[in-house]
């Protein structure tokens, strides 16, 4: 292995001697650190294409913000960060998210579990469904803020001066023979030429999903033209699961500890 040494700024320098851990020593270290992190076992995630999609990249931005405040440089991350991006994309974090971060003990991004494109007759209403599972969070953590994020690209010149109305609904109840009962969370007017991340506050909805997972039926998003005609995501430049990895929709939630956690003795 390499040789490192540390100065007062925790930078790594040549000349720092180390030895490899023996197998049982490695296992003991792993066990203790997992215990500190509060994890019952070592996670085994599934990473598609060996590259990070939008959620980890967003979280990495938040991490760099937090690490900057701790005055502790992120070791070796700059190169990994760049290599994990497929293409350059606009900055992910906003001032509001930085404010949420200052108040939070933990931040979590969630994978979209389902994405459906539907066209129901006779209304022929396009919409996409999204579902996230925030119920498996550590005990004692409460949601302080949550966002649903969608990326919009600039659309072709044919729609250039048009606006669209995007609506985000919470699904309240599903029916086998008709459209689901919906609760409108937010509607937003978008310019066709607009490009960037769209953030939607879903704090109250997330709290409900955490407290009562049985009520987690996901979100529904639909888009209409200014004349009220339903259009697909693709027509207005909204990206779904089929889009580039670093621009896929995701949910992020900020948590604060609501009770003291006592680490069990080994």
């Amino acid at each position: 292995g390499s040789n490192y040494s540390l100065d007062g700024n925790n930078d790594v320098h040549p000349g720092f001697m180390h030895r490899r851990l023996r197998t049982h020593e490695k296992r003991e270290m792993q066990k203790e650190i997992l215990s500190i992190l509060g994890l019952p076992h070592r996670p085994r995630p599934h990473l598609s294409h060996g590259k990070y999609n939008s959620a980890p990249l967003f979280m990495l931005d938040l991490y760099n913000t937090m690490s900057g405040e701790e005055k502790s440089p992120v070791e070796g991350m700059a190169d990994r960060y760049q290599s994990m991006r497929t293409t350059q994309s606009p900055p992910l974090t906003t001032n509001q998210e930085t404010a949420f971060l200052n108040d939070a003990d933990m931040v979590m991004s969630f994978v979209n579990l389902v994405e459906h494109d539907r066209e129901l007759s006779p209304q022929r209403r396009h919409h996409k469904e999204f579902k996230f599972n925030p119920s498996q969070i550590p005990e004692g953590e409460a949601v302080t803020a949550a966002e649903f994020r969608l990326y919009k690209e600039c659309v072709s010149l044919a729609f250039h001066n048009d606006t669209f109305l995007l609506k985000v609904y919470q699904v309240l109840k599903e029916h086998p023979d008709r459209e689901a009962d919906l609760f409108l969370l937010e509607s937003r007017r978008l310019w066709a030429a607009q490009e960037g991340w769209l953030e939607f506050d879903i704090t109250a909805t997330s709290n409900l999903w955490v407290m009562s997972p049985v009520h987690n039926l996901g979100l529904q998003v639909s888009v209409e033209t200014s004349s009220g005609q339903s259009v697909s995501f693709k027509e207005v430049g909204l990206l779904g699961r089929a889009g580039p990895l670093e621009k896929q929709p995701f949910m992020v939630a900020f948590f604060k500890v609501s009770e003291v956690r006592v680490r069990a003795a080994r």
């Binding site: 925790n10 995630p45 599934h46 980890p56 990495l60 991490y63 701790e70 992120v74």
Partner: protein, 139 residues
């Protein structure tokens, strides 16, 4: 992993001639020697060496550090000794069998943030307190 100087110091100490039963006097202590005095030492914990690159996104490791060294009379200003530790070193001089020297321990600990995947490929960013020794002192 730790700095290599520690092993050398231990070897030097073990070859020191044994002291008489009366116990060492003030002149035998030279805690102004900064190499043996209580201070912070380097210790780096590498997540990548533990084979965790697939689920820990950042950092690749962190400088945990540790405290070690003598807390002997006279306790100098750079040793961050509490008032109690100063008194304890004097009592130890007078009564070494019953009262130990103060301990060299962390006086300032910092948190680190860890970014990692869970089993469902959700990403978690969390701050963990008291992970890094920033300063050591005699207590």
């Amino acid at each position: 992993s730790t700095g290599g100087k520690r092993r050398q110091q231990n070897r030097n100490r073990s070859t020191q001639p044994q002291e008489g039963s009366r116990g060492p006097g003030p002149a035998d202590y030279n805690s102004s020697d900064q190499k043996t005095a209580c201070r912070r030492h380097e210790l780096y914990v590498s997540f990548s060496e533990l084979g965790w690159q697939d689920w820990i996104i950042a950092p690749e490791g962190y400088a945990a550090n540790y405290c070690d060294g003598e807390c002997s009379f006279p306790l100098n200003a750079h040793m961050n000794a509490t008032n109690h530790a100063i008194v304890q070193t004097l009592v130890h001089l007078m009564n070494p069998e019953n009262v130990p020297k103060p301990c060299c321990a962390p006086t300032k600990l910092h948190a680190i943030s860890v970014l990692y995947f869970d089993d469902n490929s959700n990403v978690i960013l969390k701050k963990y307190k008291n992970m890094v020794v920033r300063a050591c002192g005699c207590h």
